[in-house]
């Protein structure tokens, strides 16, 4: 936990500054922050995400120097960035691929929090702030995707702003207010650009609060048992700075592979066609990181219900600290919850798969039938599969976790981090939970 500051200014100038603005003390306390000694690689995603935010803001500010937010020039300005601006091809790809990397890391970070119970007391506020960051990230990503003014930009913006038209009575007015017109047009593009530039700084502010709250209550750890003695902890620097740095370097290798060798693998070919209000691409899908929510949206054949369900999928995350009432944080010691969690992850991927598929296409082939003399596959459609996955998604949060909170018996846990690490005196049994 954050104890009293151990910083002592060594030089007169540092002392002078410390008495006026203790910013060096803040940095020093940050670096010596006592962290649980058993944090594994899943805990490096926080640092990786900080880097992602910096990469996106830096490359984004630079792109804004060359981009033109005007329906007649936006697409051409992106082409110019890719063809003529010095290193423009690199910076534009970095920003586009960086968005995917950001979401990849944030999902890892969230799954880690879900598994180790990082949302439980006293870390509810850290978790809620994290959910807020995720929500603003989604908004930022959506707004940013509109800017290149390709076909997917245009139709994505049309469909997503269409969500607001589902609101009873005021829906259409609300949508047109958001768009600044009858349809996605120049007014929309300009406001989306302004907001896309603004929101990352909101994210940065929320990240500040997220980290502040983290330093106030201390980090969770893989066994979910709070630090009790000094021997449970290690100074953040150098132990976790070096570990985070290593993880960041490995993450950057993956980033670089996509950036330099598969720059379009995570995007859509249609976005290389300039926006055309007269022609919708045959198969509209969002970016991969929105696919699970897209599948939830399509799981019910009703406009408003679909949107409410999708919103609900995010809202359940916010209230999770009060849905999972089990006293044991880490699922390492919850043999039943652990299996439900694993199934939850599988269903998240299935939702993503369904989001990418055409609803009426067969996802899981069970046989074939004759239709008008042509043999076609029959089986479970993406629509049905998406419904099953949606039901599990909500059941996990609203039924499984609350019920397990009441009935699940945890397995034996170590008394402290130190004992877990030292294996109750026996060497070598450090990390494995007593199974």
């Amino acid at each position: 936990m954050s104890g009293p500051s151990t910083y002592e200014p060594k030089y007169a100038a540092a002392k002078w500054m410390d008495q006026r603005l203790p910013i060096i003390r803040m940095g020093a306390d940050f670096m010596t922050f006592p962290s649980p000694r058993n944090l594994n690689y899943w805990y490096t995603f926080g640092g990786i995400l900080a880097l992602c935010l910096v990469v996106q803001i830096l490359s984004g500010v630079i792109l804004a120097m060359h981009y033109v937010a005007d329906v007649d020039k936006a697409f051409a300005s992106v082409q110019r960035i890719r063809r003529d601006v010095p290193f423009g091809w690199l910076l534009q790809s970095m920003h586009a691929v960086g968005a995917s990397m950001f979401f990849l890391a944030v999902y890892m970070h969230m799954f880690r929090g879900l598994y180790y119970g990082s949302y439980k007391a006293p870390r509810e506020v850290i978790w809620i702030l994290g959910c807020a960051i995720y929500l603003v990230m989604m908004a930022t990503a959506f707004l940013g995707y509109t800017l290149p003014w390709g076909q997917m930009s245009f139709w994505g913006a049309t469909v997503i702003t269409g969500f607001f038209s589902a609101v009873p009575i005021v829906g259409e007015s609300l949508q047109q207010w958001l768009l600044g017109g009858y349809a996605v047009d120049n007014a929309t593009l300009q406001r989306f650009f302004a907001l896309h530039y603004l929101l990352p700084f909101v994210i940065a502010a929320l990240v500040g609060l997220h980290v502040w709250a983290l330093h106030h209550v201390g980090q969770n750890n893989p066994i979910g048992i709070s630090e009790k003695t000094e021997s449970d902890t290690l100074s953040f620097h150098p132990f976790y700075t070096v570990k985070d740095a290593f993880a960041i370097a490995v993450f950057l290798v993956i980033f670089a592979v996509f950036l330099f060798y598969l720059p379009d693998a995570l995007g859509h070919a249609d976005n290389y066609i300039e926006a055309d209000a007269m022609k919708t691409p045959p198969h509209i899908v969002p970016e991969w990181y929105f696919l699970p929510f897209y599948a939830i949206l399509r799981a019910v054949p009703d406009k408003l219900a679909g949107i409410l369900l999708m919103l609900g999928a995010i809202i359940v995350l916010f209230i999770l600290p009060w849905l999972d009432t089990h006293k044991v944080r880490s699922m390492r010691f919850r043999p039943v919850a652990r299996w439900f969690f694993l199934i939850f992850i599988v269903f998240c991927f299935i939702l993503g798969w369904c989001g990418a598929g055409v609803p009426d296409d067969v996802a899981i082939k069970l046989g074939s039938k004759m239709v008008d003399g042509v043999k076609v596959d029959s089986g479970i459609t993406f629509y049905r599969l998406g419904q099953v996955a949606t039901i599990y998604y909500f059941a996990y949060f609203l039924i499984i976790l609350p019920v397990l909170g009441l009935v699940e018996k945890p397995i034996k846990r170590p008394d402290s981090i130190t004992k877990a690490v030292l294996g109750d005196g026996k060497r070598g049994a450090a990390l494995a939970p007593a199974e």
Binding site: P86, G88, S231, S235
Partner: protein
């Protein structure tokens, strides 16, 4: 080293490892990488390929009558083409070059045409005051040349600075004659 003392970062590092080769190598490699990624972030603000390529304009001198000045935009800056009167030429050539702030003879400010002759009647220069970049007004000032209204620089009929805060003469752009009366700037 006992396990519990590992809490203290400094205690851990005082084990002579601060000067450890591996840390030095890692730090140096990371610093080199940071510098390398810094380059594109800086270089992107330089002139883009389309800006570099948008280069030259052609001007037909025969269309500028004596005593007139033509203004054309080149690389975002005005180019002055002045068809000088014999009086203006005489005035420009009579100046004692050593006495002016930026010594330069009138003929040094001209370019030979395709026959190898100087054409003193045509003065071609970048119409930008060398003080802070305003566009000077023609046929004005104490020396019958140009006068910059921003901070009061006076240029003579050869575009040379004679009085006021501007440090140098108005610049002569890179240009050449492509035919008898046509010049190409840039």
């Amino acid at each position: 080293m006992s396990d519990s003392s590992a809490t203290h970062a400094t205690a851990e590092l005082e084990d002579g490892s601060k000067r450890d080769f591996i840390f030095l190598a890692t730090g140096a490699t990371a610093a080199a990488g940071a510098a390398a990624i810094g380059w594109p972030l800086v270089a992107q603000m330089g002139k883009a390929a389309d800006t570099l390529a948008a280069g030259s304009i052609e001007i037909d001198l025969s269309k500028v009558a004596q005593g007139q000045q033509l203004k054309m935009l080149w690389r975002g800056k005005p180019i002055f083409v002045r068809h000088r009167t014999p009086a203006e030429i005489a005035e420009a050539e009579s100046v004692n070059v050593a006495d002016i702030p930026d010594p330069q003879a009138d003929e040094e400010r001209l370019v030979a045409d395709i026959n190898g002759n100087l054409r003193p009647e045509f003065l071609v220069m970048v119409g930008v005051c060398t003080h802070f970049g305003c566009v000077p007004v023609g046929e004005a000032g104490d020396f019958d040349g140009w006068y910059c209204p921003c901070h009061g620089s006076h240029y003579d009929t050869s575009g040379r600075i004679r009085k006021g805060p501007a440090p140098t003469n108005m610049a002569i752009p890179p240009y050449s004659f492509v035919s008898e009366n046509v010049i190409k700037v840039g």
